[in-house]
Subunit: 294 residues, 4 copies
């Protein structure tokens, strides 16, 4: 990997937003033109305790009701007749469809833009916290690699190459442009149901060279329908890590566990994309419910 | 209140989406035309433990880091050089800028569309759970009532009337249309810092008659920059409750604790609005980071 | 099961403590005489996220540090030189070694002592909450059934009978007395490591007839080194359920997931037993760290 | 403060238990002799969301029911007739009556016994975690300083001196002995209800000199009915900090937020004391329900 590719200082030494800086008004206005049918779809999986993938070392989300219909049945007083239900959620921020904040991964002593790792403490990320994202909105592009290969899902060890992306662009008749949010379909999430053991063991994903191919085109974000965007087991060598390359060097945004199978059936490959992470102060990730408008 | 106004069965007896049914492709395409400058703003407050309002009976959100930069400083092993930070959040779903699900309030034995309250249990809402929303996107309208009145914020006991809304529409030269998401600015959130005691005790908000005025225009959602959209203390008489009227009778979506002061300075009163609640299975609310595109 | 055996109203219709009423000063003074060597052991398993059994529908305990040594390494200010670490825990109350509160199980419309099930709401148990226990202290007795049978652990489908208990008492030269806290060793917890699949599928435990044998002797509590005291899969027929019989009819206290293997090696079968549940207001269970003093 | 007083290496360089080493069989057997009436009391406050003190930077405990009586009322299926209630708790470990683990406070680079602060990470305390305590049992002594002074509670700025302790011992006719668990009553917890503003602002407590007086007598633990054992605001200068002195230098156990007012009325000043912290792996504190047997 040519480590000369970097966005450090590109948007100033105070920058904490990274590639979001590419989302200019001009980009937005062009992206809007892809809203042609007035249709909308959500790309997120539900947040629930069971039947969802849980990455090692994390626990399932838990949802609690603090007051519900049963309480009224059990005699809870309601003088004016108004009844309320209320609830809590306890969850890892990366525990469902989510975006990685720029403080999520790094190597050596510095995170994106050269900020010291000392900023990432128990009280959260003082620099590049996920609340700095505010919004991701612009042109979205879907690369349906599973469809390109004519399979329901890529093989568990498949590494997506730059050539795959070029073929995909050609077949789908699209070009990756500066400021794009690129979504790559592997079909892998369907394996969670059909073969959970395999699902966790290995996963197809975007190879480092393919990531570089995309990064050179100056994209904003990269999402996929697997646990880690890149193949699993994840690369632990920081010099070869897609996560380190995209997040730390380039300030780009990875989105994981996307629900793409349904939307892919529309064969709409260019669209208006919106993801609005929760402003979790100091967070290094946030659940998102990304939507596509086309 | 004329209780004959209802949306039960309007979209079928199986409907769990309520007024979201008004967000048709046609509505979306019209809404898109309000994207003129390519600008975007977030309308949410941060999720954090301190310095944020906490509604009685709820607790502040808590954010936990499960691994951070300090751990590497303390000798955590990292053979390949890759470093990771990860985190959790524990929060009431209504604990920051949020949307109420249709299972959040009701009266008698039935929630929106006549579903039994028995559906709202400890395991969550089996009907009208917040995950059914999927997305809210369409034309947004800002009614800046504080500006209309020439104040930083409305008086603590002020109840917004239909006349206020009419004056506001006239002054701002806009019309409320079917399918609109209406945001009302009271300026009240600024009082949280200046006078926290008063902030909790009383709040200005939208009166039931004004809500009816809006409901008759067939809107999708109603948001405000206060804790409860309606004035506080909240109306406990279900027959006079804005919450019961909007949510239970009409299947409309209330959004609370919106951050409007900054956006209001733009004086943009029509825009493309997007809010994508987390798909918390069975939830009766969800934190949102609503964004406006104009 | 002879359902005529009941403790309802035995200690008054206001009673919420059940068999704890048997722990009289006289009982305590007799129990104290079993402290002969001045030795103490803990009977609890650790509370941790991994490597511990998790009962279906519950999630593992999660422990969070909100400030730690790494934060100081990362430059946290400490003017006077004092450094602090602090932490949180999120856990099911039945997620490790624990005691069941009297509101944990019931049948028909009433819990222990005839209180309505309406008392068990989202806000917790208004009657028989685990905070009412305050303390369990008295004579403890260990019945080492695994040792009696000459095995490391009972077979996965083994149901302990009254005869087993009689043989055990005889072999160990002890008698069950009124006010006793009875601990039964199956050896099963060791299977969690050796065969986790089997561990969850089936478990040996105390049969209903054996429970009746013990109940007739007027014990206070019954603990075992398995997930449910009774065999697993648990009996769902309320009329045959050990849980319903012991908790609802008799107000006795079940303690589960006890760590007995180590203590059993001491061959001390009578001892002073103490368990002090957390006073979780309205709780239906509490983690405990039971200790034996002998 | 004479910093020569230290327990480092006293029980070996591998020791993680500190003063618990003083709880020998002989100590236990002597302590048992204080069980004379067969009476028992709990010294803990309830764990609940409201009406309990919350130390700055922590949040209240939250208790959640995951299934309750209302669910059955709402039609939950129960084929065999058995009904279950279950619950979770989310809480700071120091959020109610609790014991500080030996990893809770330190100064410079080392915690108790010279272990590096690098052991206190996001994953918990690898050395001196609260799970190493296992049990605290032995002779307890109550020093009722409020009663000595003839007040309901000490003045908000009162610092307990060695002389106070000597007078208290003399008046109560007791001696502090090696291995004792010493409980000091200030009466302050009652102020939480009567004057919550004052309660948090200042608190009476045990001065460093008094702590030294006790430490020289080789006690095991020190508890009080206030938030911090020592006076509040807490001493930030590590050299003058009771917390640093007791925990880091001496490996002694501080217990805070004890409920002493009720027990003090018994005028029993010597007793058998038991506290069994939860074995939270890597914890730096644990809620406890301490009990006294006398």
């Amino acid at each position: 990997m040519d480590t000369s590719l970097t966005n450090w200082n590109r948007w100033g030494e105070e920058d904490e937003k990274g590639a979001l800086n590419l989302l200019t008004p001009d980009t937005l206005l062009k992206a809007k033109e892809h809203i042609k049918q007035g249709k909308v779809q959500s790309l997120s999986y539900p947040i629930r305790q069971t039947k969802v993938p849980v990455f090692p070392k994390r626990t399932p989300a838990v949802h609690f009701m603090t007051i519900d219909g049963g309480d009224y049945k059990s005699g809870m007083n309601t003088p004016g007749g108004m009844k309320i239900a209320d609830d809590y959620v306890v969850m890892p921020t990366h525990g469902t469809t989510h975006v990685d904040g720029l403080g999520h991964v790094w190597t050596e002593e510095q995170i994106y833009n050269g900020y010291s790792q000392d900023n990432i403490r128990s009280t959260g990320a003082k620099k590049c916290g996920v609340e700095k994202i505010e919004w991701i909105a612009g042109r979205g592009v879907l690369l349906d690699v599973a469809r390109l290969k004519g399979v329901n899902h890529l093989d568990s060890q498949y590494v997506i190459t730059p050539e795959d992306i070029e073929h995909c662009m050609k077949k789908q008749n699209i070009e990756i442009q500066q400021g794009d949010i690129v979504l790559v379909r592997t079909g892998w999430m369907s394996v969670f149901e059909s073969n959970p053991g395999l699902f966790y063991e290995r996963q197809p994903g975007i190879g480092l060279e393919a990531a570089r191919f995309l990064a050179e085109r100056d994209i904003v974000g990269l999402g996929a329908d697997n646990l880690t965007v890149e193949p699993m087991p994840m690369e632990e060598n920081a010099k070869k890590s897609l996560h380190v390359f995209m997040i730390r060097e380039l300030g780009m945004y990875l989105m994981e566990m996307l629900h793409l199978d349904e939307f892919a059936q529309e064969k709409e490959y260019e669209f208006f994309f919106v993801a609005a992470p929760l402003k979790i102060k100091g967070g290094v990730g946030s659940p998102i419910n990304p939507i596509v408008i086309y």
